[in-house]
Symmetry: C2
Subunit: 190 residues, 2 copies
């Protein structure tokens, strides 16, 4: 007999709360990105998912709204990439499926890597007005992750929708995490 559940939940790792509380609001995008990259490394170290993190910040104040990490393996759901987790946490926290709503401050998505095809598609629906990324698509593919089929110029595809994009932000730091991941990959499965 088919049984449909009443609800679907996913848990955020216990370490994530304490880690989030250590964030010092910064108006410098590079510092916000360094915080996100540090979360991606912590996610690798704690074995809670792939080496990716993303956060939603208030652009004007630098305040943190939501921190997400890749939870695919630990939570058993393929769509739980860091960007999707960060958007879901932010939307729940702010009570709106539209992070670009007039009543909200300007919000940005800061991710330790360029979005895969799914997350790229999710960005316009989320309402964020600015996206900042660190490691490039090719950096992620180089260590064996699949990024999916994307429009030829993904940055332009977002800009055409009025979403500002900052690329290569602190890229060397994010690549260092990916390289550490590559060294450990034979022992892990994402």
């Amino acid at each position: 007999m088919f049984q449909q559940p009443a609800s679907i939940c996913f848990d955020l790792p216990e370490w994530l709360r304490k880690f989030s509380e250590g964030y010092q609001p910064s108006l410098d995008l590079r510092q916000r990105m360094q915080f996100v990259i540090a979360a991606s490394l912590k996610n690798l170290e704690m074995d809670s998912g792939g080496p990716f993190a993303a956060a939603i910040f208030e652009r004007g104040s630098g305040n943190l709204v939501a921190l997400g990490v890749n939870l695919v393996t630990s939570q058993g759901m393929s769509m739980l990439h860091a960007e999707i987790v960060a958007m879901a946490v932010a939307q729940r926290k702010l009570g709106s499926y539209d992070l670009g709503a007039e009543s909200l401050p300007e919000l940005e998505l800061v991710s330790s890597a360029e979005p895969c095809s799914m997350c790229l598609g999710a960005i316009p629906w989320s309402g964020v007005r600015h996206v900042a990324v660190s490691a490039r698509d090719q950096d992620v593919r180089d260590i064996g992750f699949d990024e999916g089929a994307k429009p030829e110029n993904w940055i332009k595809s977002l800009q055409q929708r009025g979403i500002e994009v900052s690329a290569d932000v602190e890229r060397e730091s994010a690549c260092a995490v990916l390289q550490r991941t590559q060294a450990e990959l034979p022992f892990r499965k994402y």
Copy 2:
């Protein structure tokens, strides 16, 4: 002070459980699609989200594994398209983030409409081996929904990954639901 939640949940509509129980397993794809299209109409009537539904079936037996509907407005999260909901329910039910795992029967995603850019990107990560869609991208755009930037030939982009695609399945029925939606759109917001 920043507060990170311990978990994120979304609820499935109460009507969905009873509706799912009314499914009679069928080996005819058109009948499975008609069930999904009926769920998309019910979602419109019950005002639980946009007029879209998707399900995961066992291809060999025709058994229903998971039924999802668009829950963006009712659950306040932009990523809760019908396909994402169906995948999440199936993955939770089967205890695997990979619906293509060797231990599982062959699973298919049956959707009342062609996937948007986000859901298209999510399909390869989900592990489903067959995708069947009804209303075309243009049918959905014609009533005012945004489908996002997709690769030029989305069907080929899936086929190249070994995912079989069946298009235009019972398209007239799905379009009838979209046309009814269009008539009611001035009174609704998705």
